[in-house]
Structures are given as C-alpha cells and as structure tokens.
Symmetry: C2
Subunit: 353 residues, 2 copies
C-alpha cells in the first residue's frame, strides 16, 4: 500500500456522538434557538471533525502551493508565467495579499514549490519556501496529458506529507495556491466532474477580456476532448487536466482528514483540488470547510458538487489562500461560541415562554 | 445649540482626495485588478472616513445598548422582560455571545443601561456596566408614544456622549443592543421610513410562531396608525415608536461620524438606530459599515434605505453586537491589505500583458 492508499484508509467519518453533544450544548447557550446560525453549524462540524467539545483551533497554517502550467502556451492568461516565481518570492518576503490576511487572522503561511517553471532553489535553501517539486511546470494539456499518472500520485503524496509533518504543530489547515494559468485546469476539472458545458464553469481568471475568454473555453474543450479524463478516477483527472499545485492541495486535504483535523478550502483552484480529493475519498468532504464564494463562475458548480456552502462572499478572486485566511476568523469564532458562552442554566437566564 | 445639533453640524462628508489616493494604491497592489473585491472597497471607505492612508483600527469597541419596551405588554416576544437585565448581567460577566465574538476579534465590549426596566445600579456602581438611563423602559407604543420628544433627544445625546468620551481610546466603534421586544419597534421604524407594509418588514424575532407573528404585525400596525410618526423627523419617529437603546445607537453613530471614525452597524435593531441617525443627518451614512444581513426580513429593507451592502451573511439573528464583532475582522483585514501589501513596483512583479 502506498502513502496515498494508507492515508485514504485512515479517513473516517465525523464522530456523530460528539456532534450530538456539541449540538445539545449549542442549543442551551444563552441566546434564542440557533441564533448565531451558520456559526453554530460550523462549531458542530468542528466538534465532529476533531472529536472534541473544546476543539483546538489556535494554530492555523495556510499552505500556499505554487505550480506552473504548460497550457499557458495557449495564451489563456493575462499575466506572463514569470509572475508565478515573482509572486512566490513576494509571498516569501511577506508582501502579498495572503501575508496581510494571514497576519490579521493569526495564521502562518507556508509557501510550497510544487512545480514552478523556474529555479527556486535559493529560496528553498534559505528556508523561506518549502520545496516539494514534481517537475518544472506541467505539460500543455491541450496537446496531451498535463502530467504522468506517477507524477499525479507524487503531487498528491507530497501534499499528504506536508499535512503529516505538521500534525503536531497545526490545528487547522488552510489551502491556497499561486500559479499563472491555473484557473484553466481548474475549470477543466470542474467540467470533467460536473459534466457541465465548459463555458458555464469558466471565468475571467486574472481579468481576461471576452475574446481571450472565448479562446480559453476552446482550449479547455480541446483538452477535455483530447485527454478524455475519467471522472470516476481522481488520479486520471489530475494527471490529464490538472496541475502540480492542485494535486498538492488534494493531498493536503486528504492528509488533514486522515489526521482528523479541519481544512479550510480557499477559492476556485483550491476547490478543484478538493474535487480531486473527493473523487479519491468522498469521506474527506466531512473535513472540508468552504471559505468563500469566488467571483469565478465555475466555483459555484464546484461547491455544489461538494455540497458545501461557503462562509464568505466578498467578491474575492485572488487565491493564494486569502479567503481561507479570512475564514479562519470564523473557525475561531465558532469555537469561542462553543466553549466560552454560558448556558441558560449557568447564567441563570430565563428561557422562552 | 444643543449637543445633538452641535454634533450634526460637525459631520462632514468623507475626504474624496484621500479616497482617491487609497484607490490608486489599492489598484497597484500585487494582485489582479481589485482581486480582493469588497475588502478593497472597505479599505477605500476607511481611508475616506479617517482621512488617512494608514487608518488606525486597532482599538475596537462594541457598545451594547440595553433597553426595555412597554410594547412587550402586548405579548410580542417569546421571552419575558426579565431576560433583559439577566442578559445585561450575563454580558457584564462575560458569558454571552457578544463576549465570545468580541474576544475573537479583539474588540472591547461596553454594556450600557439606556433604560432597562430593572434596578441595575449595583452593576453600574461596580463599573461592569455604564449607566445612561433615560427611564425604566419605554411606554407601550400601541397605546401612545413610546417616549417624550425630550426623552428621545436625551437618548440620542447619551449615545453621542459615549462616543465623544471614547474619542481618544477607540478607533472603530461598533453598535449592539439587548432588549426583549426590540424587534417590534425596529420593524415599526423600518415601516415608517420605507413606507412598506408592516408584514413585509417584520420577522420572527427570538423565534415566535405564526399566530404570535400575525399578532405582532397587528400591534405594529396599530402603533403606526395611532402615533403617525413623521418619517421626515427622526426625533418624532424615535419618540413615538422607538426605544431608548435605539436612540443610544443613533447617537453613537452620530458621535462617531462627528469624530470622523468608522462605526460598524450590527443587525436589525442597530440598523433601525442607523435609520434614525440617517434621518437626522444623511451624511452620517458615510461613516456606517453594515456588518451583516440578519435573518430578520425587515433588515434587507433597512439596509436598502441606507444604501449599504453587509459584509457577512451567516444567518445571524442574535444582536448584542455579535455581527459587528465578527465584522471587525474584515475592517482590520481591509486595512492590513491597504498598508501591508506591496505594489507591483515595490515587489518587482511583472504586470498584466
């Protein structure tokens, strides 16, 4: 059994007994019935995930997975590929959106080179980023598979390894990514799993205009026709139309689920990774918390496939893990409600008549 | 000129020049154009409010205004009136929802007795709550005005006084409330200002069933018919169909606006207070940040009157300032983005092609 199979074998459903205890406690808090709405739903989920009525959530880490995409040769993005390593350096230096938002919510950021098409060995040697390279960017999926089946498994296992290494230092995982062109494989993945028309699950990425959008849709359609990914085989989908960072995200999610820890899924690309994880192990869904609803139109379809309602809807479309960082506030808030609010009995407050 | 008039005279529009500078900076951050969406809109607002490109937001305080309502004699609420002082004590002791959520977002909570129908002098003497009592609860608005015009002005000026006293110790104000029955005057206020049918702006408060809901609508309709509040006169509306805590909230908002500081408006009852402030001084709207969309159906109409889109939509309906406390995270996040994220030039990242 390889690491991927071992990890999947360890993923168990949430603990329903603890969920029920949490539910009872939440119902008896000094407030009208379920008056903090989805924050209470989240508290119940976190109890079920962690098997605890006092879930640890203090140590939060966002793993921002970086990778490049051969399909950018087709002209699907507004930014040149060199922006991927530039933004990796920017995040490593603390100057990106994810740094500011992680700073606000008290999360750490780990930048991972999953396969950037540039030499990042200096940054890795200095400890500012972590190297889990599968290759120097994927191949062009419009001309054949983005990667081999072995590379797909390696990408996922690298993500699993990151989660397992962090098991004693992280309470809540968060996903994020950086990779010029990566809304293109993400839309392809959503189309493959949902069966919806590509144009319905494709967005404007970093801000392309209509003409380039039409072209992007055609490139994705061609990639799907050429590669025929099997939606019943997550590895097949990842290898044919995915990305190294998307595989890393899928692995991080599976690893977190195997550790019985919550994992906050960022936006569109992270949700594509979550769809791969879900295809490999549907039970892993029970450990996923959807952070936000992206502007990318395919995100809605992706979240529906996972049966998840996101916590935040602020027209974000940056990625990097920014939505996950913001949502960490709600994770902590939910647990503070579960653990710090008095019950009617404790506070001697009269109940409803 | 009384304190209310003086305060209104000091309220100026946001600074458009600083807004423009903030906009230029936000456009040049290392991310696709406006890729953090409404968080960037919020950063721009905060710059315009505070006249600064480095707005101070570290010191956040939620003022939870408590008051009782004579209209509970009509049987509009599911909870007995004694719950108001019990919950005031619970908040003062740190055991309520607002305490947990303020704890999470790093906000302080100040509980204010604006007019609870119980003797809270011990709590006030111990310093655990602040006393700004206008009276021992309002009169029953279904039988006449809830309070006199003088009392309405006193309630508002008490709120203004709280803001002014905090001018050197608070960067961001938040509103909150506690008062059994207070969705009833809030719906009446929204109906008065919007002209909409009462049934369209009335909700189920703490959880009343259909029969009691129909009764609640009739009580509000009767109160409006009997009192004929003038929507062009905020003091008239507050005095006839308002509440002491609603007046306190209106005053806190006006006070914050006069100090050029942002004020985060909690849920339905707080927004009713904001409507009173808006009627007295429409420019005050420029200092309001809508925290969340409440389950209470009248809240949507109230937010539309203010032209505000809320930041959070988590099916909250607790009040106390809980939504404002959660939204403080986004206020801080917006400012961290404005002040901590590098521009393309600073980070030497390539721009879009």
């Amino acid at each position: 059994m390889n690491l991927l199979e071992e990890t999947i074998a360890k993923i168990e459903p949430q603990d329903e007994a603890i969920r029920a205890l949490a539910h009872t406690r939440l119902e008896s808090l000094t407030m009208p019935y379920w008056a903090l709405g989805r924050l209470l739903d989240l508290a119940e989920e976190l109890a079920g995930i962690t098997r605890s009525l006092h879930p640890a959530v203090a140590r939060k880490t966002i793993f921002t997975m970086a990778g490049d995409h051969g399909v950018v040769a087709e002209g699907v993005s507004k930014y040149p590929q060199e922006v991927t390593p530039q933004m990796v350096a920017n995040i490593a230096a603390g100057g990106a959106g994810i740094n500011a938002l992680a700073h606000q919510s008290g999360a750490s950021v780990v930048v991972v080179d999953m396969g950037v098409a540039a030499d990042l060995s200096e940054l890795a040697a200095s400890g500012k980023i972590v190297s889990r390279r599968v290759g120097p960017g994927t191949k062009n999926m419009a001309e054949g598979p983005a990667m081999s089946r072995e590379e797909a498994i390696t990408a996922i296992e690298n993500g699993i390894g990151l989660a397992i290494q962090a098991k004693d230092s992280v309470d809540v995982f968060g996903t994020g990514e950086m990779g010029i062109g990566n809304t293109t494989p993400s839309s392809a993945i959503v189309a493959a799993f949902s069966g919806r028309p590509v144009a319905d699950v494709t967005g404007h990425g970093t801000g392309i205009e209509e003409e380039q959008f039409t072209h992007k849709v055609r490139v994705i359609e061609k990639s799907l026709r050429l590669n025929q990914p099997d939606p019943h085989d997550g590895i097949d989908v990842l290898s044919k139309i995915g990305g190294f960072e998307i595989g890393g995200i899928a692995g991080l999610i599976l690893g977190a689920a195997s550790l019985k820890k919550p994992v906050v899924i960022d936006g569109f690309i992270s949700t594509a990774g979550a769809l791969i994880a879900n295809a490999l192990c549907p039970t892993a869904r029970q450990y996923m918390i959807a952070a936000h609803r992206s502007v990318e139109q395919g995100h809605r379809a992706a979240l529906e496939l996972l049966g998840k309602q996101p916590l935040i809807d602020l027209d974000l479309r940056l990625g990097e893990g920014t939505g996950a960082a913001l949502a960490m506030n709600f994770v902590e808030a939910a647990i503070r409600v579960l653990t710090e609010v008095a019950t009617f009995e404790e506070a001697m407050v009269s109940k409803a008549q």
